[in-house]
């Protein structure tokens, strides 16, 4: 088979799998939770919502893979990409579908291992460096999450559960108040550090900018759009259990707020001075994961906003990475200063990149602005004024910093004039479709979607 054929398999296979995942998510959302294999596999509104986000990101990234990789891969590289691409999807589905915390960990570790070589699809010294850092940092980080998982099992000693159901979150959730509080606290700390590393929460985000900037654009989109959220999903799963076990005093939530604010601040500092388009987007991921963690930590209205923000961010960031990737190919560099004036040259990708950057920094009426507004309301409701102030400060710094880069990219004095772009109708449909969704979600939230998010938020809040 030629490289083209492998990439085509990845594209259509990916779109089919995404459609299946989306269908499964819809079935679960309509019919209610599904349990099978003695609760080892369990899907409820929270998993179904995340499955839907995964379907969106994976489907669009598969769609984009064909124009992006065209003519750049050898057959063996293309075959490896296709195999790992499907493998990564299966690992993420495993994380979302399993009801056993141990198996969930196996899934997260599998995503690290399967995606490592996606970063160096094009083997270069820099991509190898990024791959190595990603492998070591994430494997070691996630090992801590396994310690946490073991401690969760240890905290359930008093429950007299049989061996095969010790780690089922369905069981633990119902009996959470009987778990040993001290051990559970220790367990949550380990899980937060472990899954937080993989989710890119500061100060554990060291691997993230390197991996996101060196990976090919569809892979960066999958990383940023969903892999980080897959890891954060594990924390959302454990959050109600940890809260109930420690007496619902907001101990675990407080930690999430702290890590969330730290991520926002750290990301803001780096965004101001960042000229590499993909690294800029990578720091935006740190910022937005921080915002999601903050919102989940605030609880109440914030939990709903966290889930909404997850969807908005995934959509927006996937699109932004597509644009950055294509512009990088056209200009031969990811430096924003070399892309100066791209919008004046009338390029599809420059227009979409500019729009997605505006959406990312929270310009109204895009969806991210609306979810951030909800988070502010949640903070006001909780009277968390310090968190609110830090959040506003961080977001404002990001706004100004990123806007400056975006304006140079769009209307600056051109440094070079690349070949005119020839994009197929399908690509135009993808780009305008994603932008349209971001706009529509900002103006109008369809009832089935808001119902799904409300049900999922209820699960995170501990109201099954």
């Amino acid at each position: 088979m030629t490289a083209k054929a492998f990439i085509r398999v990845a594209r259509w296979g990916g779109i089919t799998l995404a459609a299946l995942a989306a269908a499964a998510a819809c079935v679960v959302l309509r019919r209610g939770p599904v349990l099978f294999a003695d609760g080892w596999f369990a899907l409820d509104a929270l998993s179904a919502f995340h499955l839907g986000v995964l379907a969106l990101v994976f489907g669009s990234a598969s769609w984009f893979a064909e124009p992006y990789f065209e003519g750049t891969l050898t057959p063996s590289q293309a075959r490896r990409f296709a195999a790992l691409w499907f493998g990564a999807f299966c690992a993420m589905v495993l994380v979302l579908c399993c009801g056993n915390l141990g198996l969930m960990w196996v899934g997260i570790e599998a995503t690290t291992l399967l995606t490592a070589f996606l970063i160096c699809t094009h083997v270069t010294p820099l991509s190898l460096e990024a791959t190595w850092k990603y492998l070591v940092v994430c494997s070691v980080g996630v090992a801590f999450a396994f310690m946490g998982t073991l401690l969760v099992a240890a905290s359930a000693h008093g429950l007299q559960l049989d061996a095969s159901s010790t780690l089922l979150w369905t069981q633990l959730r119902e009996r959470a108040v009987f778990l040993h509080p001290g051990t559970m606290k220790l367990a949550f700390l380990f899980l937060l550090v472990g899954y937080g590393t993989k989710a890119g929460l500061a100060p554990l985000h060291g691997w993230l900018p390197d991996a996101h900037s060196q990976a090919p654009a569809p892979v960066s989109a999958l990383f940023s759009g969903f892999m980080l959220n897959a890891s954060f999903y594990c924390l959302l799963r454990i959050l109600p259990i940890a809260e109930a076990a420690t007496g619902n005093v907001g101990w675990a939530r407080g930690l999430l707020v702290f890590f969330g604010l730290a991520s926002i601040v750290v990301a803001a500092c780096f965004i101001v001075f960042q000229h590499d388009s993909k690294r800029l987007l990578a720091y935006h991921s740190v910022e937005h994961l921080g915002i999601i963690a903050l919102a989940a930590g605030l609880g109440g209205l914030g939990t709903f906003a966290a889930l909404w923000h997850t969807l908005n961010h995934a959509l927006c960031k996937a699109l932004a990475f597509f644009c950055a990737g294509r512009l990088g190919q056209a200009y031969g560099s990811h430096d924003l200063r070399r892309m100066a004036g791209a919008l004046r040259a009338g390029r599809l990708w420059a227009a979409a990149f500019f729009a997605s950057l505006l959406a990312l920094i929270g310009v109204a009426p895009f969806a991210i602005f609306m979810s951030e507004l909800q988070i502010l309301r949640a903070a006001a409701e909780r009277r968390a004024f310090i968190a609110m102030a830090v959040f506003l400060l961080g977001v404002s710094v990001v706004f100004v910093g990123a806007l400056k880069h975006a304006l140079v990219m769009a209307w600056g004095e051109p440094v070079q004039r690349p070949e005119p772009e020839k994009e197929s109708v399908g690509t135009h449909v993808l780009v305008w479709g994603m932008l349209g969704m971001l706009l529509v979600l900002g103006l109008w939230l369809p009832t089935p979607l808001s119902d799904a998010m409300r049900a999922a938020a209820g699960i995170v809040e501990g109201r099954p």
Partner: protein, 217 residues
């Protein structure tokens, strides 16, 4: 159960000794052999802990654990060392004497921590918990204090051994499927790290990870 306790103590002592050997050895081949010994020792643990689980389960876990940790990992690493033809000295950032002293410190610290872990220790195996924690800390130390990519893989294996020991001590029986999944992940992780290290040495003509510093802000 008395013999089994004595046996468990002996195994823990071996585990701690291999930790110190890893910190002290100056050649990568010797470190690989120490990791092989540690893998065999840790792989034996389910058999010693046995109590209460069906025999087939214990046998399966012991066989898979010893096979992967004691035989497959060392083989992969020796093959890697043969293929990449790097210099075999460890070249640590922290001297061997200080490393060993820190290793002993880690043991003391783990003993202190496990004495604080009330409910877990009351169950049993305080000794094993502290050995597991000490191994984990030594693994972390090996990862951050060594220059060669191979040493980081070694450190990762030691860290995994620590987590495995800790898990057996605190939980006893994690479901077999989870246990096998974890072993599988560790296996694939080491496999993939070896391939990545091989590519790095091909691309850069060295595998000193401290020289991988082009990506930074």
């Amino acid at each position: 159960m008395i013999e089994s306790h004595a046996l468990a103590d002996a195994v823990m002592a071996l585990l701690l000794i291999t930790n110190l050997l890893l910190l002290g050895f100056g050649y990568l081949n010797a470190c690989v052999r120490a990791v092989a010994l540690q893998g065999l020792v840790v792989g034996l643990l389910p058999l010693i802990m046995g109590g209460g689980s069906p025999l087939w389960r214990v046998a399966a876990l012991t066989a898979v654990g010893m096979g992967i940790k004691g035989v497959v990992f060392p083989r992969m690493l020796s093959k890697l060392l043969r293929d990449v033809e790097v210099r075999r000295e460890v070249e640590p950032f922290v001297g061997h004497g200080l490393s060993i002293a820190l290793g002993v410190g880690a043991m003391g610290f783990s003993l202190w921590v496990s004495s604080k872990l009330g409910p877990l220790v009351a169950a049993r195996n305080a000794w094993m918990i502290s050995a597991g924690l000490a191994t984990l800390l030594v693994g972390l130390f090996l990862i951050v204090s060594r220059r060669k990519a191979v040493s980081q893989v070694l450190g990762y294996i030691v860290l995994e051994n620590g987590v495995y020991t800790f898990g057996l001590a605190t939980v006893g029986h994690v479901p077999l499927l989870v246990e096998l999944g974890v072993l599988m992940d560790a296996f694939v992780a080491v496999f993939i790290m070896s391939i990545a290290a091989y590519h790095i040495s091909r691309e850069f003509n060295h595998m000193d990870v401290d020289l991988l510093d082009k990506l930074r802000d």
